[in-house]
């Protein structure tokens, strides 16, 4: 049976997961394997005066205790930030040094100062407890605005006042002038809460050094093994690329947290060489909360001006972003080029100015988490729009409609040029699907039960498909953001696709095979997707930024173009036909209007037997392609959230969540819907439940699932999902990417709905029962006071 693009094909990778046969990093056991445990700072900011490892070294089963001085002494380089963002005065960003094992100073709770290698995991942990570190405590600062305030503790010497850069985008003068003419200005002060990504599989690494070959192998929980190898080789000097193999086997979710190359992976590689043992480290959940890069954590003041008709005239944004104690790989790009460039939303805005200051704090690094910058922009714009609608006594959907961009391409004032979309259409779809017309009746019925019902919108756009390499490079990116693919047709006619995209839940083994089966009209079972191993796959930039479909699949299409061209040459030659008359159909290539054909395996055999190939043609049938997008892709969506709030407890129930998305062409609706479900759940998590909290001493108060609220099944409803496709003109499939939409669009829809329900402004995320109850009480007392 043939498989087409658009079919709901069940996942071929599922069988190993549902039978317990998946192979995640921690499931792998190497010969001669030892275990690493890290000695971590209990202080958020301290000078390291000395490390006494003698007691640990004397313990049975402890193989070695290694520290930062040894690591840097062996030439292991500092951890890098991969995107250079300059301040508006042209000065480069102030990046402080980050060593995989801290030497003179620790800067967050969990910063590692040493590693213990032992025969078992338990012994390694006991050994780590036995290492005595002499710390001299320093004053700490955990909030970004406080870090930038005068007199704040200095975290890195070369970042005076803890400021990394003071960046801007847009036109300040034009925006100020526009706001001066506005008939109405809405102003908000909002915080975007700090989150922990929490893929269910904790990070893990197993490093093996082969002394005879001077070769390293690293199994690790990575979203981008080639990038890991590149960085480990070029910047951390672990080994040159041809002496380093990185394998990301089954990976249990990423959400951004597994993009980066962390101190632990570097240390395990180095320690495997030092001890001549395979060194394994598996994070536990507590360690994950302490050391996995967090997401979001913005403080923003913004003003949006409208004319008398409710048309936006200008938007001015001032944001302080918390980067944490060190600059992680994309930490500079997330609050700038992935945030400020999105400030136009779905709206025709004549003037925008966005200023972003980034600050070091004594917290774990903050980097990309599902959506990365775009959720922060969307939350700001979409809560702003709804507040403005309330202030101007307009229907929030109508205010949006008046401001929607109607024609494409559309150049925004903040770099991006949108390629396609139909914003009124998807809003209308969502409104119909959510039965907005019947909301008043439902609200009245809820009121009869003493419940407060509210409805909130979010109409949003994303820039996905990261990214045109030259454009990214001109903005400071340290890498190209193309993708590569190799399509190999085997002599028996089966096909292997080697892709640089990495699947850690996205279902690539199914969807990538689907586009091949569709193109060549062969059984999907005859297609295998290979990914995640630098020794197998030519190269790749990995999976993040909703790029696997628009960039990764496009590379596969380009490679298939080349394969198809060669196939047609071979068939035309063998069948003595004209290439233009050949039709690919039913597992064969046929000459139209005749009964002449070559079956798929006959073509494969012909290519590899090479007994009868066109003059000068090389044998074999495999082609490689690199695809570098010419633009971002711009998925858009309209979300409507309906809630019921229990005024007695402040508890919010999401009673209905409706989305209408424009992802362009959809390869597999089942998988796309699953991505939306998961993204929306994370967005609802941010809005209602999740928050990382450090106390003033930099101690993590939300260090386990006892205190960090993960969305559970009974926190969430079934979701209603609709699609409308305006294909992207900038890639061969017309796809846009779907992985981040839910997390980007959902938070403001939820907060807008609760605000509508309780009739109180200024509700902060997460809207926990206590926060909502307090907002209700505050609104009551302000009414009483009036």
């Amino acid at each position: 049976m043939s498989t087409k693009i658009g079919d709901r094909v069940k996942r071929s990778e599922d069988k190993r997961f549902i039978t317990g046969a998946g192979k995640y990093t921690d499931d792998i056991r190497q010969e001669n394997q030892a275990y690493a445990a890290f000695v971590r700072s209990p202080y958020a900011h301290a000078n390291v005066k000395g490390i006494d490892a003698s007691a640990a070294e004397a313990m049975d089963g402890v193989i070695a205790v290694l520290n930062g001085a040894q690591l840097t002494g062996d030439g292991i380089g500092n951890i890098i930030c991969g995107w250079a963002v300059s301040s508006k005065d042209g000065s480069p960003m102030n990046m402080g040094a980050w060593s995989a094992l801290a030497t003179e100073k620790v800067r967050y709770v969990g910063d590692a100062v040493a590693v213990v290698i032992a025969e078992t995991d338990a012994l390694a942990r006991l050994g780590a407890e036995a290492v005595e570190v002499d710390y001299e405590e320093l004053p700490t600062v955990v909030k970004a605005d406080k870090a930038l305030a005068e007199g704040a503790p200095q975290i890195h010497e070369n970042a005076p006042g803890n400021q990394i850069f003071d960046w801007e985008i847009g036109d300040q003068a034009a925006t100020d002038a526009a706001l001066a003419t506005a008939a109405h200005i809405t102003e908000v002060d909002i915080t975007n809460n700090r989150l922990s990504p929490n893929p269910m599989e904790p990070r893990a690494a197993i490093a093996t050094y082969d002394a005879a070959e001077e070769h390293y192998t690293l199994y690790t929980t990575s979203q981008n093994p080639h990038v890991a190898r590149l960085v480990l080789s070029a910047f951390y000097n672990v080994a040159p690329e041809h002496k380093l193999r990185v394998i990301a086997p089954d990976v249990g979710g990423g959400f951004g947290a597994k993009i980066y190359i962390y101190p632990e992976e570097i240390t395990c590689l180095w320690a495997s060489m030092k001890t001549n043992r395979s060194v394994k480290w598996t994070s536990d959940r507590s360690e994950a909360f302490m050391t996995d890069a967090h997401g979001r954590d913005h403080i923003t003041n913004a003003r949006m001006g409208f004319d008398a008709d409710g048309k936006i005239v200008g938007f001015k944004v001032d944001t302080i972003a918390n980067v944490g104690a060190y600059m992680s790989l994309f930490s500079s790009a997330v609050p700038t080029y992935l945030y400020g460039t999105l400030m136009s939303g779905q709206y025709d805005m004549p003037a925008i100015h966005c200023n972003v200051r980034t600050a070091y704090t004594n917290t774990v690094p903050v980097d990309a988490y599902r959506g990365a910058g775009r959720p922060e922009a969307t939350y700001l714009i979409e809560t702003m729009m709804e507040r403005a609608a309330r202030e101007m006594a307009m229907d929030p959907a109508e205010l949006r409609r008046r401001n929607f961009i109607q024609s494409f391409p559309h150049q925004t004032p903040v770099i991006l040029a949108y390629d396609a979309g139909d914003f009124p259409k998807i809003l209308q779809m969502a409104q119909e699907s959510a039965d907005v017309a019947g909301f008043a009746t439902r609200k009245a019925e809820a009121a009869s039960r003493g419940m407060l019902r509210g409805l909130g919108y979010s109409t949003f756009i994303e820039a996905c498909g990261l990214a045109p390499s030259a454009a990214a490079g001109s903005l400071g990116a340290g890498v190209g953001l193309w993708e590569s693919a190799e399509v190999r047709m085997n002599p028996v006619g089966t096909i292997e696709v080697l892709t640089g995209s990495h699947s850690h839940g996205q279902g690539h083994e199914t969807t990538f095979a689907q586009i091949v089966a569709d193109r060549f009209d062969i059984p999907i079972e005859n297609v295998k997707i290979v990914h995640g191993d630098t020794d197998k796959v030519q190269f790749g930039m990995g999976t993040y930024g909703s790029r696997s479909a628009p960039v990764g699949m496009s590379a596969v299409v380009k490679a298939m173009d080349k394969v198809e061209a060669k196939i047609k040459k071979i068939v035309a030659h063998v069948l003595e036909a004209d290439e233009a008359d050949l039709v690919i159909e039913g597992g064969a290539v046929s000459v139209a209007g005749t009964d002449k054909q070559m079956l798929w395996h006959e073509i494969g055999l012909a290519a590899y037997m090479a007994h009868n190939l066109p003059e000068g043609m090389e044998p074999g049938l495999k082609e490689t392609a690199f695809f570098d997008p010419v633009n971002f892709s711009f998925p858009s969506g309209a979300f409507i959230c309906e809630v019921e709030v229990d005024p007695e407890t402040g508890t919010t129930e999401i009673v209905q969540f409706t989305s209408a998305d424009d992802f362009g062409t959809i390869i597999n609706p089942m998988i796309v819907e699953g991505q939306v479900h998961g993204g929306v759940a994370q967005g609802i998590g941010q809005a209602l439940l999740e928050q990382v909290i450090y106390d003033d001493d930099g101690q993590l108060l939300t260090g386990s699932y006892m205190d960090y609220t993960m969305p559970r099944a009974d926190d969430l409803p079934f979701f209603t999902i609709d699609h409308h496709a305006t294909p992207s003109p900038n890639n061969p499939l017309g796809v846009k990417g779907c992985g981040e939409a839910g997390a980007i669009g959902a938070p403001p829809a939820v907060i807008n709905a609760i605000t509508d329900a309780i009739g109180a402004e200024g509700l902060a995320m997460p809207a926990t029962p206590m926060n909502v109850w307090r907002a209700i009480q505050a609104a009551k007392s302000s009414i009483a006071a009036e």
């Binding site: 407890t649 439940l689 609220t709 926990t768 029962p769 307090r774």
Partner: protein, 264 residues
């Protein structure tokens, strides 16, 4: 987890002997709190004395209105027990909402009582119903049993063997869970007992489970949801954390009390 010695005694005598054999021996009754604590290196018992193998320890029996629940009875077995369901549905419902299904298959009433976590559910039921805690050496009234956060009047080597509840009149329990841990942020158990109306609050007190005199007085006069509304619930002495400050917990005590009465 630090090393420990596991004992699986078949009798109470063997269990007490094992308990006295180790320097820091602890009873293992289900382990759903103790083992996570040990995993995080926050507890280091020298010995674990598993009481689940002792005959009769998990039995649940009814004698008239008296329910006797063995210390090793799991939350699931209490929730599913026909006698508990008929004599005190509030207690069965409480047990059915402790932790999650897998935890309820292992966690026990004796373990919960002995641990006296300030956010545990059973202490509220025991205190509201003035249950009797039966040990290998004596019987202790719930009024005398709880002694602050994670503390009880159990002596070294003393093992809870059963909890005895006098049922009869109306009982109700309502819990507002902590959004993250799902332990009680506030749980209120209301009971009409032979000794009058008793109201016990868990999850909220900074000294653990406690009785609320104001609610007891109001409900003694008028066992109704409306009676609760007039009670002034002070935030004094209540826990405060980022999930719920004392003012919010005070509000929840009133709301949960009302809902507990409604459920009774």
């Amino acid at each position: 987890m630090y090393s420990t010695k596991y004992h699986n005694p078949a009798s109470i005598d063997a269990a007490t002997a094992a308990l006295s054999s180790g320097e820091e021996a602890k009873v293992l009754a289900g382990g759903q709190t103790l083992l996570p604590t040990m995993k995080q290196h926050l507890a280091e018992p020298s010995d674990l004395v598993d009481i689940r193998g002792i005959a009769g320890m998990a039995d649940i029996s009814a004698n008239g209105a008296t329910l006797t629940i063995g210390a090793a009875a799991t939350h699931a077995s209490v929730a599913d027990n026909a006698d508990v369901q008929s004599l005190c549905p509030a207690l069965a419902g409480l047990a059915a909402h402790i932790g999650d299904p897998a935890v309820r298959h292992m966690g026990t009433i004796g373990g919960s009582m002995a641990n006296n976590d300030p956010a545990a559910d059973y202490p509220a039921a025991a205190l509201a119903m003035n249950a009797t805690i039966v040990t290998n050496s004596r019987e202790i009234a719930a009024d005398d049993f709880f002694d602050g956060l994670f503390a009880t009047n159990l002596e070294d080597g003393e093992i809870i063997t059963a909890i005895r509840f006098e049922t009869g009149a109306k009982c109700g329990y309502a819990k507002f869970p902590n959004p993250a841990s799902r332990y009680a942020m506030v749980g209120v158990f209301v009971a009409q007992t032979g000794g009058g109306v008793r109201v016990a609050v868990t999850g909220a007190g900074d000294d653990g489970v406690f009785r609320h005199a104001g609610l007891e007085a109001a409900l003694s006069a008028d066992w109704s949801e409306g009676a609760v509304a007039g009670v002034d619930i002070s935030p004094g002495g209540l826990l405060s954390d980022f999930h719920g400050d004392s003012a919010y917990r005070a509000n929840l005590i009133g709301v949960m009390a009302k809902r507990a009465v409604a459920a009774s």
